[in-house]
């Protein structure tokens, strides 16, 4: 999964549903580790800013 950094509000909602712990939040940026990600799409579904998709 990929994050559109222009849309992301760094709210951490995606992190709370990730089943494999693939998402990290830094002070100003959320990052998905695609080596860990299983593309389940939960993060994209709950993202209130609709900033996450399965392609850049």
């Amino acid at each position: 999964m990929y994050i559109n950094q222009h849309l992301c509000d760094v709210c951490g909602t995606c992190v709370s549903v990730c089943p494999v712990d693939a998402i990290e939040v830094f002070e100003t940026q959320v990052v998905i580790d695609n080596d860990v990600c299983i593309s389940c799409g939960k993060c994209a579904q709950v993202c209130p800013a609709r900033a996450i998709g399965d392609a850049l």
Partner: protein, 396 residues
Amino acid sequence: MIRKFYDVVVIGAGPAGSVAARYAAMGGASVLMLERDREPGIPVRCAEGVSVNGIEPYIDIDESWVAARINHAKLVGPSGNSAFLRNNGAGLVLERRIFDVRLCELAIAQGVRLLTKANATGLIKKNGVVSGVEFTHDGVETSVACNIVIGADGVESRVGRWAGMDTALALKDLDTCVQYTLDGIDVNPEYCEFQFGNEISPGGYVWIFPKSNHSANVGIGIAGDKAKDKGPKQYLDTFVAKRFPEASATYTVYGGVPTSYMKDEYVQDNVILAGDAARQVNPITGGGIVQGMIGGQLAGETAAEAVKAGKFNRRFLMSYKRKWDKRLGDNQKVMFRLKERFLGMTDGKFENLVNFIKTIPEDKFSMSYLFKEAVKEDPKLMMDVAKSFIVSKLKK
């Protein structure tokens, strides 16, 4: 200078974290609190509504952080039919950006050390035992040693994951939310408004919490499992275009609210969670400020007792969970069961609920009255609640 060791490190300086830090320090522990942002309280990811009774034990009410004093709640059903809950006690709409700083000041006055722009990145483990926290401060990597970590890091609950807890939420137990602070609108600052209905807000509600007679926090939360095709912003924009077509948004914020409950595993050796991180939220209303402060107090007190006793294992720290269950946790599990029922409610049932509330005499209104009457209307509800009570008792 930050010391190399503190008895307790609290991660997150929201209401849960700052109250936890304060009570730990009051109990004699040395406490460091880390806040990721440049200032506690911002960005405000909150509708800012609280009850006076709920926050009074933790802070003296001060007008500098009170935006509006609320007397009633107005519930609006899917057809626009509405009912007032008038005897619901005094409420407040806060200015969280001031409120959160005041809470931190109360912690600092008890000896807590606060670091802002301090982003926790992991736990330090020695022979499998958590013995400190890694973090960046102003972008520079550093660390601190401690005996207890209190994770009050909000919905994302990273601290719990680092400690090996499963804090991942099911989609149905996470409300995805958007909120505008709208100005240039006509609102009555006497009451908060809640709009229900599957068309307006599936598995959640739209809230209008006034901040003055011309501004309000207008937001929406929808259950995560119902957000597949349309996100919360689309629902909220539809609502706002109809209700407040001329409004200006002075603030826009996104966020998630856990609608689960606190579990035993949120307590481990050397690590406990509090607030949203521990899912200490009312699963029906999504309210978490007071719940988080109560959880924070219990977490802080337990941490201080652990420091005094020199015992940091899960066995000792579980007294925190027991105190929480007694105070709010048992009730929270019942609320969680009720939430599951609300999620399946049709618009017709919401209308019935609004009509039913209208029949309650103003002087009679209380949650227990509402519950008694609701059970008369729907006996199956009683069974559900009884079952969840029994299950929660059996687990002990």
